[in-house]
């Protein structure tokens, strides 16, 4: 990895470099930087051992006022009660409550109206802001990069480091510009865009890099659509994905509980306007896409890079150049029960899951409701719609979206990670095919033997009402 602590020629800096430079506390020559963390998000699954480490070392949390906890990964979604839940999950949830109490950390607990998936509540509370460094023990922390923040996932040891010192040791990553020209067409979403990118660069394509997304197709997106793209950046191997803040960002933030007010707001916006990368700033790599050429996408294999335009045939493993790739592709098709040359389009579907930190926000639910309004879930298909937060749930109910889902025969749930990670009983049974708006289609991810097709909320809703994989544009 390059260790570039000096600005590029002429002093032109990328958005990433500006944030990085601002947050380096100290750096030994040739060693990693000590990076200050502005916001630390915590959830129940990756924190217990970190708090135990602090306790064992007799240390306190340095900045409880920069720490926010919620519970999301293994929380039930049928009810807000833990009665009947997995005893291990209950133990873990209670452990988080005890830890937050002991260390003085604000916790959005199970019965809080502001609880939800950690990467949904941060932004909606106005806690995620441009120019910040944000970490969490969860790889989809990249989501917050949509605000022009440097946000990335960390392991439990690093969670302990941040709790104790508000800092991390980090080597400076390389940078990759992702320039997206054109504009997404009708029925084509930012989920399809990020699936198309990962299909192009591969699941290891971004390793060692942070991605900066730019171009007219990106600028045309709402904040929620931008979050989908940054969320799945990690599936392309890159820890962080950033989008420069602009008026869309400031409009989203204005008035949110964590955002500054009055003269402080004006000062903040003035500062944030300095963040976008300078003209002439150089990147280690550039990747280009044309949004005009992107249609609804769907995964067919067992990693997010194995994705296709929805009507395209499943590729033939034997056509791949490398033995390892051939073996991996053949294995994936065997797991998914698909044949080379087969169309995923019109494949029968058992379950549809609409939710997750990728596509569980109000914009996503509106898209799904657009397809499902006045239609009914196909016979034999089970549909779960899980809002990303209790605030999203409340807003969706106020707008009549929940009624649309219920009248269509879908299950309307409480907020949580739910079937994305299948830790709370919401899962696929062995062999079942599920169309999911989540972010991972690994073997067994949504339940042992479960077979996942990743897709957009529009595509998922179309599958729900047709019972087979369907191009959503035929229903719009």
């Amino acid at each position: 990895m390059t260790d570039r602590s000096m600005p590029t020629a002429g002093g032109a800096r990328t958005l990433f470099q500006k944030i990085w430079d601002e947050h380096v506390v100290t750096q030994e020559p040739g060693g990693p930087a000590v990076l200050y963390i502005d916001a630390h998000l915590v959830h129940e699954v990756t924190s217990p051992q970190a708090f135990s480490a602090l306790r064992a070392a007799g240390m306190r949390v340095r900045r409880p006022d920069l720490t926010l906890a919620t519970m999301d990964h293994s929380t039930p979604t049928r009810t807000l009660s833990l009665a009947g839940a997995d005893p291990e999950a209950v133990q873990q949830i209670h452990q988080l409550e005890r830890n937050c109490q002991e260390f003085g950390i604000p916790l959005h607990a199970l019965d809080s109206p502001s609880r939800g998936i950690v990467h949904v509540i941060g932004p909606e509370l106005g806690y995620t802001q441009p120019g910040m460094t944000i970490v969490c023990g969860d790889s989809h922390t990249s989501t917050h990069g949509a605000f022009g923040a440097l946000a990335f996932g960390i392991g439990t040891s690093e969670v302990a480091h941040v709790l104790a010192t508000q800092c991390l040791l980090q080597r400076q990553p390389r940078t990759c510009r992702v320039l997206v020209d054109g504009r997404l067409g009708r029925g084509v979403t930012s989920k399809d865009l990020i699936l198309a990118l990962i299909a192009q660069i591969g699941v290891g394509g971004g390793t060692g890099h942070v991605l900066e997304y730019a171009g007219p197709a990106i600028q045309a997106l709402s904040m929620e659509e931008r979050m989908t793209i940054c969320n799945m950046t990690i599936e392309g191997g890159a820890r962080s994905g950033l989008i420069a803040p602009d008026d869309v960002t400031y409009q989203y933030l204005a008035g949110r509980p964590g955002a500054p007010r009055g003269a402080d707001w004006d000062a903040a916006v003035a500062r944030w306007r300095q963040l976008p990368g300078d003209d002439g700033a150089s990147f280690d790599r550039t990747v280009t896409l044309n949004a005009d050429a992107i249609g609804p996408m769907i995964t067919y294999g067992t990693n997010p890079g194995m994705a296709l335009p929805i009507a395209a045939p499943v590729p033939d493993p034997d056509a791949l150049p490398d033995g390892g790739q051939r073996q991996a592709a053949a294995r994936a098709l065997a797991y998914m029960g698909l044949q080379p040359g087969q169309a995923v389009l019109n494949h029968p579907v058992d379950v549809v899951f609409i939710g997750s930190c990728t596509n569980g926000r109000l914009v996503d639910l509106r898209q799904a409701a657009q397809i499902m309004a006045g239609r009914h879930v196909a016979p034999g298909v089970r549909v779960l719609v899980v809002p990303g937060s209790q605030a999203v749930k409340q807003a969706a109910e106020a707008e009549g979206l929940a009624r649309i889902f219920r009248e269509a025969g879908a299950e309307w749930r409480e907020a949580g990670c739910s079937m994305c990670i299948a830790m709370n009983g919401d899962q696929l049974e062995p062999g079942q095919y599920g169309v999911s708006t989540s972010n991972r289609n690994f073997e067994g991810r949504q339940g042992p033997g479960g077979r996942t097709f990743l897709a957009s909320p529009l595509t998922a809703a179309a599958a729900a009402v047709k019972g087979v994989v369907t191009d959503p544009r035929t229903l719009l």
Binding site: M59, G237, A391
Partner: protein
Amino acid sequence: MQPFTQFSSRFVVLPNNNIDTDQIIPARFLKTTDKVGLGRALFFAWRYAADGTPRPEFPLNRPDAAGAQILVAGDNFGCGSSREHAPWALLDFGLRTVISTSFGDIFRQNSLKNGLLPVTVDGETHRRLLALASSSPEAQLSVDLASQTLTLPDGQAITFAIDPFTKDCLLEGVDELGYLARLAPRIAAYEQAHPARVSTLDSVQGRLPPAGLARSQEDAPPSRREAPQGGAGRPRS
């Protein structure tokens, strides 16, 4: 953390590319509040049949894998989720080094924090190791961190890269938490120079839902349509 210096052992091979951390340790095993005991669940779906008995053909279940402390894996090992339970499971099983042509970034960082050494080799070396596993399943490899050397049974030494800071931490068994904690004065100086941040405890005038510190508290719903209060916010640096 125990110092990592050098050792020799047999090795076991999982040649698949893109082995993600969900395969290394499925999510249902992440409900533990502890670090130990995860070795039983390592590669669970691949290791055990539906009835819970070990699959004899899985490489880690084969007799010649006994005592292996080195795993040779396909490209992009450890991609996906940030769960540190992945290196914990590998270590608890008895592995101390993973060799691949590339690693997921977060997995590599997590491994180094726990004394599991990720060694990156080129494609040709990787192919040699796979061939060696077929021809001599009981062959031993040697790993020497100080000289950054992986030695094959025929004596050929392959140098691997590792940054000096991380290497020293591993050689000495240094806990990075202690290292960072000793920087407290510098961190305090940084905070002095960059004072203003977004406070999660700022529930003055209802600006943030007063998140409870215990589960039984009622919270006010977040309101984003309040009239600007003026003066209550803190400027960010």
